[in-house]
Amino acid sequence: MYTILICDDDRDIVSALDIYLTSEGYQTVKAYDGREAIRAAETHEVHLILMDIMMPELDGIRATARLREGSNVPIILLTAKSEDTDKILGLNIGADDYITKPFNPLEVIARVKSQLRRYTALGGAEKGPGLITAGPIAMDDGAKVVTVDGEPISLTPIEYNILKLLLSHPGQVFSSTQIYEQVWNDPAYGSENTVAVHIRHLREKIEINPAEPRYLKVVWGLGYKIEKGA
């Protein structure tokens, strides 16, 4: 039974999230500004925090920074700001993920689950010789098994090979041509489109919201990459 702290200055959003999370079987603690959130995190044993950025008294960024001083509890930022700089700032300050408003409740639950799995289970996962990981994605090359947050996903051999190529070079951008030549072992003659389609399928399997990928990212006009250190 996990306890989730929900913090937003809009009470309706808090109660809506409360209903969703409670129906998923989580306990919730509510807070309506940054100060209350910090107090609640001190008094309750909290396993995850959903935190709005724009709040009175103490905003989400500052509160996150304050909480990070003594805890590594997962924090997901809820943000109405769609500015990239806000997201980057939030992640740099110690948040683990973010969801932009207006959000889909299902996406929230999926992200909450993912973060909780990572926070509770992944800590003890042993790193075998053939294990390649990036964020929640783990690939056991020996067993040819790929898991996301510990949940195995089924991939076609081509998808598997593409993911393996990208995972073994995190942060590096591969163009469609490079991926084609490496995975198919053939010179590419206008068959790059295939690569793009495969990667889209791959993204749909790995990412919670494929339109806003967190791990397998599209670098528009250049290629694809696995986010380094994600």
Binding site: D10, L17, V195, W220, G221
Partner: protein, 683 residues
């Protein structure tokens, strides 16, 4: 000290002292001037006074000799009985006259010594020397006068008779009687015999004795005058109870006019003083003894002193006003000449300045050519002109260098400002006038630009803030709506109508979400708040990625994508994420508005440093609006707004393309809809 400087009493005292001292100095000066003659000559006989006196004696003597000859002839006629009846009376009168003359020239009555000789020097006709006296030893300097004695008159040959050649006169026989007068005055005379010579000597002696005294008096009083003058100059312009320099009516007169008048007065008065001194000098010499000349002389001296004092007074007034003007720093301002010259210089200067630049060059060049021509012409004959010509060239070189340096500074400044440093101010000191005007204008522009840029930055920040806040304020309630509609959907509804209503709410809230997002994005893109990071982007790669994203959705609508790409990768300079949004919007447009079962053509073309991507599709509904209108916000191909889409897609696409330095064009040909994105090609 300040008090003393301002004291009116001290000033009046100084004026009185000045005038008194000047008067005294004048008196002593005139006296010293008169007596200076005695100092500069070695002997009292070496003076014009003496010469004129001795000449007069000589003339008198010659007249006396003529008279005695006339008398002799008259007596002879009387003795012969040929004289007219009145001759006796004449003779008597002549005899009286002769006696008086003899009396006058006798040793007892004069220091004048003479010898009358025939011109051969043999016969002595008359003298007032003693027998044992030689005239050459008696007198200080011997004078000669030779003359011919005719019947009825004497004709002098001049003063300087040479005794050596006298006897060799070839006309000796022709002349009736040739005579030589030797005369002079002894060096030592005294008051034992009183005549004009003793008087001259006495005055000379007196002058000689008192000259030092007069000079000392003059110098002392002159020093006192100067002291008083300096005091007056020092205190000039200061007045008790007044700050700064006080000017009077005198300072309102043009200085040069004042100076000319005063200098003329001083010169005139000095000339008068000297003239008076001269008159007095001569007058004293000729004054007949016994007349009351001394009183007149003294009065004359006083008058000369007064003239001198007035002259000094005039000079003092001039110096005083000069001092006041200098203290008040208004000398140049109150000088007519200076004002006129300043005015003329300024007028010419302004005229030249205001001349159009072209005229300046033309006139300057013309003047240069003329001057050069004359200098070269002159230089053929005269080296000085050649030198002046060289100097002119040097001056021209310096002038041009000055100009060039000014231009260089202007250029540097312009470059700096153009480089983005709007705060930069060009240093306009010692710049040529025309360049300075340019530089000042540029400085003003840069200041104005700087302000405008600041203003723009401020408004940009304001816009960005506004968009962020509005988007937050819209998104927060929208989040609640979507969430609660979702919750409502999960509840059990028995009424089929309620289920239908919830469906509507769900659909519309999703549409509202999309609209909000598009709205924020459109305003961000059109206000330029978005940050653009342009880099080398592969167009073929991007189109691949985009088609991969859209292929399924398009095929769901039975739309076929036909892509034509040139050989190899096509590189452009663009921001990948923004360019993706452009293509995404275009393809989403196709998905929404293209007629089902048709093909969508995606063509990429390279050429002339530009890359053009065109997207063509057949519209499902007739396009009843012109292409330009389609790009406006909230305009869609069909008038009804029932379909999905915000009507912002094309507007966003255009703004984003333009942000990246590209061009976005639409063309409508019947039902054919064509969008062209043109971007600069990267090498």
């Amino acid at each position: 000290m300040k008090k003393l400087q301002c004291s009116a009493a001290a000033k009046i005292c100084a004026v009185l002292v000045l005038l008194a001292a000047a008067f005294g100095a004048g008196v002593f000066g005139v006296r010293a001037l008169i007596s200076s003659v005695s100092i500069t000559r070695s002997s009292w006989q070496d003076s014009s006074r003496f010469y004129s006196a001795i000449d007069e004696r000589c003339q008198n003597l010659v007249e006396g000799i003529e008279m005695s000859q006339t008398l002799e002839e008259l007596e002879k006629q009387i003795a012969e009985g040929t004289a007219n009846p009145l001759a006796y009376a004449d003779a008597e009168a002549l005899r009286e006259e002769k006696a008086r003359m003899e009396e006058r020239f006798s040793r007892q009555n004069t220091w004048f010594r003479f010898r009358l000789l025939t011109d051969d020097g043999q016969t002595l006709l008359g003298t007032n020397l003693k027998d044992d006296e030689a005239i050459s030893r008696t007198v200080k300097e011997m004078h000669y006068f030779s003359f011919e004695l005719w019947e009825g008159g004497a004709y002098g040959n001049g003063h300087y008779y040479d005794p050596e050649t006298a006897g060799l006169n070839p006309d000796a026989e022709a002349a009736p009687l040739k005579l030589v007068l030797e005369y002079g005055v002894p060096e030592k005379v005294d008051d034992s015999i009183q005549d004009e010579f003793s008087q001259i000597w006495r005055l000379w002696d007196m002058d000689r004795a008192s000259f030092d005294q007069y000079l000392t008096g003059f110098l002392n009083l002159g020093a006192l005058t100067l002291l008083a003058l300096f005091w007056l100059l020092w205190t000039a312009g200061h007045k008790a109870g007044a700050e700064g320099t006080v000017t009077t009516w005198q300072e309102r007169i043009w200085f040069d006019l004042y100076a000319v008048a005063m200098i003329a007065a001083v010169v005139l008065l000095s000339a008068c003083t000297i003239w008076a001194a001269e008159q007095l000098y001569w007058g004293r010499s000729y004054a007949v003894r016994g007349e009351d000349f001394d009183t007149f002389f003294n009065l004359g001296i006083m008058g000369a002193g007064a003239l001198f004092a007035v002259g000094v007074g005039c000079g003092t007034l001039l110096l005083r006003t000069l001092a006041v003007r200098l203290k008040a720093h208004c000398l140049a301002r109150t000088t007519l000449l200076c004002r006129v010259v300043t005015w003329m210089v300024r007028t010419i200067h302004d005229f030249v300045r205001l001349l159009p630049f072209t005229w300046k060059i033309v006139l300057g060049f013309g003047a240069y050519v003329i001057v050069t021509f004359f200098l070269i012409m002159g230089g053929v004959y005269n080296g000085a002109f050649m030198f002046m010509y060289l100097c002119l060239q040097l001056a021209l070189l310096i002038f041009l260098s000055w100009w060039a340096y000014g231009y260089y500074r202007l250029r540097q400044g312009t470059k700096t400002i153009a480089g983005g440093d709007l705060e930069y101010q060009i240093d306009t000191r010692r710049m040529p006038y025309d360049l300075r005007l340019q530089a000042e204008d540029l400085n003003n522009i840069s200041a104005g630009l700087s302000a405008a840029v600041d203003e723009k930055m401020k408004s940009e920040r304001f816009k960005a803030e506004l968009i962020t806040n509005v988007s937050h304020d819209l998104k927060t309630p929208l989040t609640s709506i979507i969430n609660y509609v979702n919750l409502l959907k999960s509840t059990q509804q028995t009424d089929p109508k309620a289920i239908e209503y919830i469906e509507v709410l769900d659909r519309k809230s999703q549409r509202l979400k999309k609209l909000t997002e598009d709205l924020v994005e459109a305003s961000k893109a059109s206000t330029g708040v978005l940050s653009v990071t342009r880099e080398k982007i592969g167009m073929s790669q991007l189109i691949d990625q985009a088609t991969a994203e859209w292929e399924e959705k398009l095929s769901d609508r039975r739309l076929t994508l036909v892509t034509t790409l040139p050989e190899g990768e096509t590189w452009v300079y663009a921001d990948g994420r923004h360019l993706w949004r452009v293509i995404d919007n275009l393809l989403s447009n196709c998905a929404k508005y293209a007629m089902e079962g048709t093909r969508i053509y995606l063509d990429l073309e390279r050429g002339k440093g530009q890359v053009a991507l065109s997207v063509k599709n057949i519209s499902r509904d007739p396009l009843n609006v012109p292409a330009e209108r389609l790009m406006e916000r909230f305009v869609r191909g069909e008038e009804s707004r029932s379909t999905e889409g915000s009507g912002l897609g094309l507007s966003i696409a255009r703004s984003l393309t333009e942000l990246q330095g590209g061009a976005f064009d639409l063309a409508v040909d019947g039902d054919l809809f064509k969008a062209i994105v043109t971007l600069p090609q990267a090498n």
